[in-house]
């Protein structure tokens, strides 16, 4: 008897163990809240696609994660959000990039999937598409938080792109803002009939070049789902693209017969450098796995047999 399962993440990166309570507790509360929302929805028989979307919407609305409100800023101090969604059984998918006013990028990605013959729309045209469909938009300033203005300033001072991971010993001055390594948000879900879905959303990298696209909207990199599993990845986008991370978890299951846990562990160990990536994944059989090779990953999961977990750092 297989049951439903759900996993979600709020980003993988160099999250310091001594993260202050005032930065840690709101995120833990949010992860639990989103998990509860997702679990209720699955228990009421909502399709995994709807569940993944609603959980990611909730994470986008929360200002402490790097997606929607709370997105990190480009080098020009603006917000450029991207997202993608994929349904396992049909492999239908949708993606968007370069959004500046759309309140919930993941829902726009879903609209692209359902209302156009295309998969991926970006920048001005994606914004125009949103308006044409009456999708909720707000002034760009809505997404910008004081923490992210500070992060951008810091990144510029150090004159480098602030990645989702840093060197093992970050300079003292960065320690206060260590939780800035908050790559992305995502959710994967499966129901007892084996319907699978994955959804991922992000603001990208602090101080990224305007127009930079990461792994999140690239099907096969940040998001993937087929009849075997659903995967959402987070971390250093450029490495996740090169490693075709989300697709590779499924490919290892399909082509090498690995289990979900083995496939996910393999990808995180072998396909990407240390300190660059984490992912959440569920299988058609109701299994769940959340491996990462970074210091930490904000994550939570639950399965129908009663198991649930919420954590930031490794479990040992």
């Amino acid at each position: 008897m297989v049951g439903w399962a759900i996993a979600l993440h709020g980003g993988a990166g160099d999250i310091p163990i001594d993260l202050p309570d005032e930065r840690r507790i709101p995120r833990e509360t949010a992860l639990r809240h989103c998990l509860d929302l997702g679990v209720s929805a699955l228990k009421s028989g909502e399709p995994p696609l709807d569940v993944a979307e609603l959980v990611v919407r909730e994470l986008e609305n929360h200002p402490d994660f790097n997606a929607g409100k709370g997105s990190v800023l480009t080098t020009q101090g603006t917000v450029e959000m991207e997202a993608s969604i994929m349904e396992g059984k049909t492999k239908r998918c949708g993606a968007v990039s370069g959004l500046t006013t759309v309140v919930n990028p993941i829902s726009l990605a879903r609209l692209v999937m359902e209302k156009t013959p295309h998969i991926y729309l970006a920048f001005d045209a994606a914004e125009a598409f949103a308006r044409a469909h009456g999708v909720e938009t707000v002034d760009s300033s809505h997404f910008i938080t004081p923490e992210n203005i500070a992060r951008l300033k810091q990144a510029k001072e150090f004159n480098r792109v602030q990645l989702d991971y840093t060197a093992p010993t970050p300079p003292k001055e960065l320690e206060n803002c260590g939780d800035s390594q908050i790559g992305t948000v995502g959710c994967v879900a499966v129901d007892s009939a084996g319907n699978l879905a994955s959804a991922t959303s992000t603001g990208g990298y602090v101080n990224k070049m305007v127009g930079r696209i990461g792994d999140t909207p690239v099907i096969g990199a940040g998001t993937y789902a087929n009849h075997l599993c659903a995967v959402s990845a987070t971390g250093k986008g450029e490495e996740i693209i090169r490693g075709t991370v989300a697709r590779d978890v499924a490919a290892l299951m399909e082509y090498k017969g690995l289990s979900l846990t083995e496939a996910a562990a393999y990808v995180v160990d072998q396909s990407v450098p240390r300190g660059s990536c984490g992912l959440v994944a569920v299988s058609a059989r109701g299994e769940v796995t959340m491996p990462f090779n970074t210091t930490g990953m904000f994550r939570a999961c639950a399965t129908e047999d009663g198991y649930s977990e919420m954590a930031i750092w490794p479990n040992n």
């Binding site: 295309h118 991926y120 598409f129 930079r212 693209i241 090169r242 490693g243 075709t244 697709r247 082509y255």
Partner: protein, 325 residues
């Protein structure tokens, strides 16, 4: 086996009624591009450099749907995208929404080599291009009369078709000789086979791949297809280099280029088996084609579409240019 190998393509999904002289022009261009690549390979130019120089030639020639000669957006403008990948360390670069850069493949290469990122798009990519000093032209440069005519036909076809699987009736330009074959929702007589590509393995066994396109005729502005997506339209690893063309959405869903390498890596298939496998099993109802080389000097083309403009050559003297099965 071993030695260098190269393949080029000019798109998949071709009108079976394509006039003989257009077929001849296409073959000549493919031959010329192959020869450019061969000369470079014989002078020990690396795979990634050969891929770039061959695709530049394909972009510059107005015949195929990339660079000059790109298919037009619904507004009659050109919006190009491209990606390139170096198999040795799996480095990659991609661009989308390019409107004034003469050679998008070279901009993709610059993203790979000169930026901290892998993928830049729209105004950000255009700004980067100017900072890098690449050749900039007006958008008009890319627009050809042929494509202005095709766009008009495509718009007429779309206004008649509600369900794109239904063949057009009484569509202007869709003469009695038109077959009911469709690609990406358009009758094949007015579909512009998307994309050009090149894959190379050099004398050192290094593989590289690149793809460039104007995209789908009459596309929505801002629509991104498979060509700039690493793993979909383009992929290269230590084992192989792959470039795909055809229905973009089908290629993305299938992660077609990545899957060729994945079945070699994870199932131990050889290049021919891998290409056959993905074309047969990964496209569902979609139509597409691809060219691929392996680090052993093999070259394979595969497609389930109605034809693919292609050419390939290997160091031992084999050379072939073809359009149909």
């Amino acid at each position: 086996m071993g030695g260098w190998a190269i393949a080029v393509h000019g798109g998949a999904g071709i009108d079976p009624n394509l006039p003989a002289e257009r077929q001849e022009e296409a073959k000549q261009l493919l031959t010329r591009c192959l020869n450019l690549g061969i000369v470079a390979l014989r002078s020990n130019v690396s795979a990634i450099d050969v891929v770039e120089l061959v695709i530049r030639e394909l972009e510059t020639d107005p015949l195929f749907n990339s660079g000059r000669g790109s298919a037009l957006t619904e507004k009659g403008t050109v919006e190009m995208e491209a990606s390139i990948m170096d198999g040795t360390k799996r480095r990659c670069g991609a661009v989308s929404g390019i409107t004034t850069v003469k050679n998008p493949i070279s901009l993709a290469r610059l993203v790979m080599d000169k930026s901290p990122h892998s993928y830049l798009a729209f105004s950000g990519a255009e700004d980067f291009a100017r900072k890098q000093g690449v050749e900039i032209v007006d958008n008009d440069y890319f627009v050809t009369d042929d494509n202005v005519g095709m766009l008009k036909l495509a718009k007429e076809a779309n206004s008649i078709l509600f369900d794109y699987r239904i063949p057009p009736m009484g569509c202007a330009g869709a003469a009695a000789t038109d077959s009911p074959i469709q690609m990406n929702g358009l009758p094949i007589s007015i579909y512009a086979p998307e994309t050009v590509g090149c894959v190379v393995v050099d004398g050192e066994g290094r593989c590289a791949a690149g793809t460039s396109t104007g995209g789908l005729m009459n596309k929505m502005m801002g629509r991104i297809g498979d060509s700039p997506l690493i793993g979909a339209g383009t992929y290269a690893s230590e084992l192989c280099g792959v470039s795909c063309t055809g229905e973009g959405e089908a290629i993305i869903r299938a992660t077609l280029a990545r899957d060729v390498s994945a079945v070699m890596e994870y199932k131990g298939l050889n290049l021919q088996e891998a290409v056959d496998y993905v074309i047969k099993h990964r496209l569902d109802e979609g139509f597409a084609g691809l060219i691929a080389v392996s680090n052993k000097g093999e070259v394979v083309c595969g497609f389930n579409s109605n034809g693919m403009f292609r050419g390939c050559a290997t160091e031992d003297g084999f050379m072939e240019v073809a359009i149909w099965e």
